[in-house]
Amino acid sequence: MNDKVGIVIVSHSPDVAKGAADMVRQMVGNEVPLAFTGGDPGGGLGTSVETILAAIDRAWSEKGVAILVDLGGAETNSEMAIEMLPEDRQGRVVVCNAPIVEGAVMAATEAWGGATLDEVRRTAEELSPA
């Protein structure tokens, strides 16, 4: 299971996170480790470092994990979560600068083909304007 890069989807909205994950599953099935999280610790719209850490754990792969985020707070909280990981995992988790839905689908497709974390990130980030 751990021969493919994992994908984590972090949205302010639990519905957006789940919806994006559904689209990823439809594309790549169950072979890519995938987790999603959305909503703040009070149950409102927002993101939570605690649940992002848990999602990274669920999608963990020895090849690393690529995170796709929506708005700014999701990025800041994801970067904070990465810093709070055990040291041996920190270098193997990246936040992709890419649109959340398209980025997740592209990243997962690349991961499904066995690409490295760096390749997965580059493919997702090709979607962003330079």
Binding site: D40, P41, G42, G46, T47, E50, G72, M84
Partner: protein, 213 residues
């Protein structure tokens, strides 16, 4: 000015600062509704309520350790971008004051150096600079005033003026940046919450417990 800051003193300090922010949650949310996603007050309230829930344990620790626990609590409980930003601020303050003697009151020089390092950490966390309509626009001038010898009243005035000075700024970072020019004319909510914290702490240091602006 007391010469020691024991567990009871730390408890009062944290409790008063947390209560001051919680009491202004509605005001902070209203500011954020104008230019952000309208959750700053609620998020800060949730973070500081979580701090208060652990108040005895935090106050029992030496100041640097207590500050780090406050930082971790803010990171975990706040939810918005202000969680990692304020969390990083408190975590770095704790790290910078690590050498503080038990129950000692940090000196002006120690506080100014710690705040300076914390501002650098917050800038890195938010990929932001002074002048972009964020909490940095309050923290940076207050740090300069602190380093320059300002007393409690002058620090409070500095924080107040700095928060007001975010009104005409255009947001470059955070959700407010989506508004572009329409962010002009509103005070930044993070600048206001920083002002509340600073004026409350300055009031305590100056001997007027709780008399925040």
């Amino acid at each position: 000015m007391t010469t020691t800051l024991d567990a009871a003193g730390r408890r009062a300090l944290i409790e008063t600062a947390a209560a001051a922010v919680i009491a202004r949650a509605d005001e902070l949310t209203a500011l954020d509704q104008a230019i952000g996603d309208g959750d700053h007050g609620l998020n800060m309230k949730r973070g500081f309520e979580a701090v208060l829930a652990d108040l005895d344990a935090i106050a029992a620790k030496p100041l640097p350790e207590g500050l780090k626990q406050i930082g971790t609590t803010m990171v975990m409980k706040v939810g918005g971008a202000s969680g990692p930003l304020y969390g990083t601020l408190f975590l770095q303050l704790g790290k910078s004051l690590a050498e503080l003697a038990p129950d000692a009151v940090p000196s002006r020089a120690e506080l100014a150096a710690a705040l300076k390092a914390a501002i650098v950490a917050v800038k890195a966390r938010g990929k932001s600079e002074v002048g972009q309509k964020t909490l940095l626009d309050v923290l940076a001038p207050v740090q300069a005033a602190l380093a320059g010898g300002a007393d409690a009243a002058a620090l409070t005035a500095c924080a107040h003026e700095a928060a007001a000075a975010t009104v005409p700024l255009k947001a470059i970072r955070g959700r407010a940046s989506f508004l572009g020019d329409r962010s002009i004319g509103h005070m930044d909510p993070g600048a206001r919450s920083s002002e509340i914290l600073i004026s409350t702490l300055a009031a305590i240091a100056g001997g007027n417990s709780g008399a925040a602006a």
